[in-house]
């Protein structure tokens, strides 16, 4: 499996709206902080995390709706320059997106057919005479019947609307489809139908998915590999089965143990308080039950084999001496600007 998308050290920062004075803007907030991941061809990469962990920010960077503050995104080996229109167009040709809210993401004044046709017009690469053929092909594939085409979104059910979003995203073939909480607004039986459709589509159209959801049951069911985000930082990546059965990062462990299933009985007594990210070092260390001194530094990735990576000092068995050398001096930890910068 070659890599379709390579994301390296991606950081996206937003400036806080709260200003600190007339001429001083507020602190910036890192929605994504030094995130690196790859998505292989024909692979479904699942991205999960709590509300506010930066999942949707990553989705929007991949379709060129947000510009990275730093870091690189490579698509099929081509590095995307977010200032170049050409590059953004290239990205959008190859990456489709389906949003969570099927009501707000469809123009209410357009018919279903118009909605899908718009995507064809925007792509510019399809001759007009082929429009009908394309629309027929894709609607059949996603399970939208012909009688829905002249209708408007408000006349349709949530599941039908989400299928139309899918048709719009895929009417021009894409290499990668970003699915940002595609089923969380749907009823359970409709969610199951959409998940089945998504799985079938992927094998028929040969593409990769970036599947984003906070629903662990869903993400387990669809993805080959899983990434866990905590306040903008990726803390664990690996094969879905491995991450689910033997989670290594304390955050992943706690996340997985809180998942409700039909079989599990009895509520997990939650003792964790509100998740507040630490301002420096490992973001999870404030709530982490196994935090120790080393966590004040940013943990390096530890490879546990078979592509299972975890960003946690608990598994960093490089000898203490060696790591001591790598660690920033205590001055740096306390935020002294004169202290030497941490080697990257």
């Amino acid at each position: 499996m070659g890599d379709l998308v390579e994301i390296e050290n991606l950081t996206v920062a937003f400036r806080s709206k709260r200003r600190e004075g007339l001429f001083r803007s507020g602190p910036s907030l890192k929605a994504l902080d030094d995130v690196s991941l790859t998505i292989g061809e024909n692979e479904t990469f699942g991205l999960t995390g709590e509300t506010g962990s930066g999942k949707s920010t990553l989705a929007k960077v991949l379709v060129g709706l947000y510009r990275p503050t730093s870091g690189t995104v490579r698509f099929l080996g081509r590095e995307i320059d977010y200032k170049s229109r050409k590059d953004i167009a290239y990205l959008r040709q190859n990456v489709g997106i389906v949003f969570q809210d099927p009501v707000r993401s469809l123009n209410p004044s357009l018919t279903v057919k118009d909605v899908i046709t718009e995507a064809l017009i925007a792509a510019k690469s399809v001759p007009k005479k082929d429009y009908d053929e394309r629309i027929n092909f894709i609607t059949k594939l996603v399970g939208v019947t012909k009688d829905l085409l002249p209708r408007r979104p408000r006349e349709l059910s949530g599941g039908q609307r989400q299928r139309i979003s899918l048709a719009r995203a895929l009417v021009v073939p894409k290499k990668l489809l970003v699915l940002d909480e595609p089923t969380s607004a749907l009823d359970v039986s409709i969610q199951a139908q959409v998940l089945n459709t998504l799985k079938r589509l992927k094998s028929e159209l040969n593409m990769s998915y970036l599947f984003i959801t906070h629903d662990i049951n869903v993400i387990k069911y669809v993805s080959h590999r899983l990434g866990v985000l905590f306040y903008g930082r990726l803390v664990e990546v690996g094969d879905t089965r491995t991450v689910d059965t033997v989670p290594k990062h304390p955050y992943t462990q706690s996340l997985i143990s809180h998942v409700l299933t039909l079989k599990k009985v009895g509520l997990q007594e939650t003792v964790v308080s509100e998740h507040r990210p630490a301002p420096s070092g490992c973001r999870y260390r404030i709530v982490c039950p196994s935090a120790f001194e080393r966590c004040a530094a940013v943990p390096e990735w530890v490879n546990l084999g078979d592509g299972h990576l975890v960003s946690c000092f608990l598994y960093d068995h490089t000898s203490q001496k060696e790591s001591q050398a790598l660690l920033p001096t205590p001055a740096a930890m306390s935020g002294d600007p004169r202290a030497p910068k941490e080697p990257s």
Binding site: E50, T51, G52, S189, N217, Y221, T240, L260, L262, L267
Partner: protein, 369 residues
């Protein structure tokens, strides 16, 4: 579905006492039926006037809840579960709503016959509801502290004998404690905020704390955790279990079977304004009788990427303006026969404590056939 009959009856017999013993720990000891019923709804039928004429939203719904019990109402969009909650509270505007028949008995009184002033006395401390969208149920121009404080005042005023109102400092202390119980860090800061300054999960917890501080005898919660992540979900559910331990009765409306399986003692499965199946949660979810319940159970994703497709039938949620004849589930039902398309089955007791509305459920055998 097709399980050999001897195995089926065996599980039925072994399942019953097991559920019983577990529930006895969770709730109060089982009394005779009819005893300890806080809420009883009988044959509730509600129409809505719409441009397409009258639409029947609820059709002959009956259900009950005992004291200290968590009762789940499970169904998808359009099943009438929210209307049911609003009808209990008397919050349906008429018109468009029209209560055609039925009764809602709460602690011996028929709520549908009460005058608005009497109903008002029940709201809050008698019955309380948490809505799905907390932003709609919080007042945008008051701070969190004012809103929770107001609920506390009402609760104190209505207590018998009346309790003196708390001083400002006391109120603040009570509210911060409450918020801290909901795992809100720095409650003092949250108290001074306005609803729009809070995140979705935080708002929902504030809405819930307003309801719980009034200590209602019956709490109705309509999808309180939809769209929230697993952590917040757990915290909110934990809140409810605490309220139940304090003797509150809870009506939990949801479409999420995994949540229902965690906190509900009994569940009612609704479809197109009707109850399709009802019984002890465990029994209903592990050995569904009605094909619709089986569909719901099969819809919960299980396993990994290489798992087979989820076995759900195609079909859209029911269109209440245009329902099929006979059983309302028949267009999506893989087991539908002629009788299912002609006559609508009634909700009948299949075995003790278990009800289903399906022609293919054999009452003699006590199972789907």
């Amino acid at each position: 579905m097709a399980v050999d009959s001897s195995a089926e009856t065996d599980t039925r017999q072994t399942l019953a006492p097991r559920i019983g013993s577990e529930l006895r720990q969770a709730t109060r000891p089982e009394g005779e039926s009819g005893d300890g019923r806080v809420l009883e709804i009988r044959d509730l039928t509600i129409d809505f006037a719409s441009v397409d004429g009258r639409v029947r939203i609820l059709n002959g719904v009956s259900m009950m809840a005992r004291k200290g019990e968590v009762v789940g109402i499970v169904g998808e969009s359009g099943s009438g579960k929210t209307t049911l909650g609003l009808a209990i509270l008397g919050l349906l505007d008429s018109p468009p709503a029209n209560i055609v028949s039925g009764s809602v008995t709460f602690e011996g009184r028929d709520l549908l016959k009460l005058r608005p002033a009497e109903m008002e006395m029940i709201h809050g401390t008698g019955i309380n509801m948490v809505f799905q969208e907390p932003l709609d149920s919080l007042n945008p121009v008051y701070t969190v502290e004012t809103q929770i404080g107001e609920a506390l005042k009402v609760q104190r005023k209505r207590q018998d004998p009346p309790v003196t109102q708390a001083t400002e400092g006391e109120t603040k202390g009570l509210i911060t404690d409450l918020l801290r119980n909901l795992c809100i860090d720095k409650p003092e800061e949250v108290l001074e905020r306005y609803p729009h300054e809070l995140s979705g999960g935080m708002r929902q917890r504030v809405a819930i704390s307003i309801s719980t501080i009034e200590k209602p005898r019956l709490m109705i919660s309509d999808e309180p955790t939809t769209g929230l992540d697993a952590y917040v979900q757990n915290r909110i559910l934990g809140m409810f279990s605490a309220a139940r331990k304090a003797g509150e009765t809870l009506l939990y409306i949801t479409h999420d079977l995994t949540i229902a399986s965690q906190i509900c003692d009994r569940i009612y499965i609704m479809y197109a304004g009707r109850v399709m199946e009802a019984g002890q949660t465990r029994g209903v979810l592990q050995e569904p009788l009605h094909p619709y319940t089986s569909t719901l159970v099969a819809s919960v994703p299980q396993g990994y990427e290489d798992a087979p497709p989820l076995s759900v039938q195609l079909g859209e949620p029911p269109d209440l303006r245009n329902l099929p004849g006979g059983c309302k589930f028949n267009p999506r039902c893989p087991y539908a026969k002629d009788v299912c398309r002609e006559t609508e089955p009634k909700l009948e007791e299949v075995f003790a404590g278990r009800y289903a509305a399906c022609w293919r459920v054999d009452k003699e055998l006590g199972r789907f056939s």
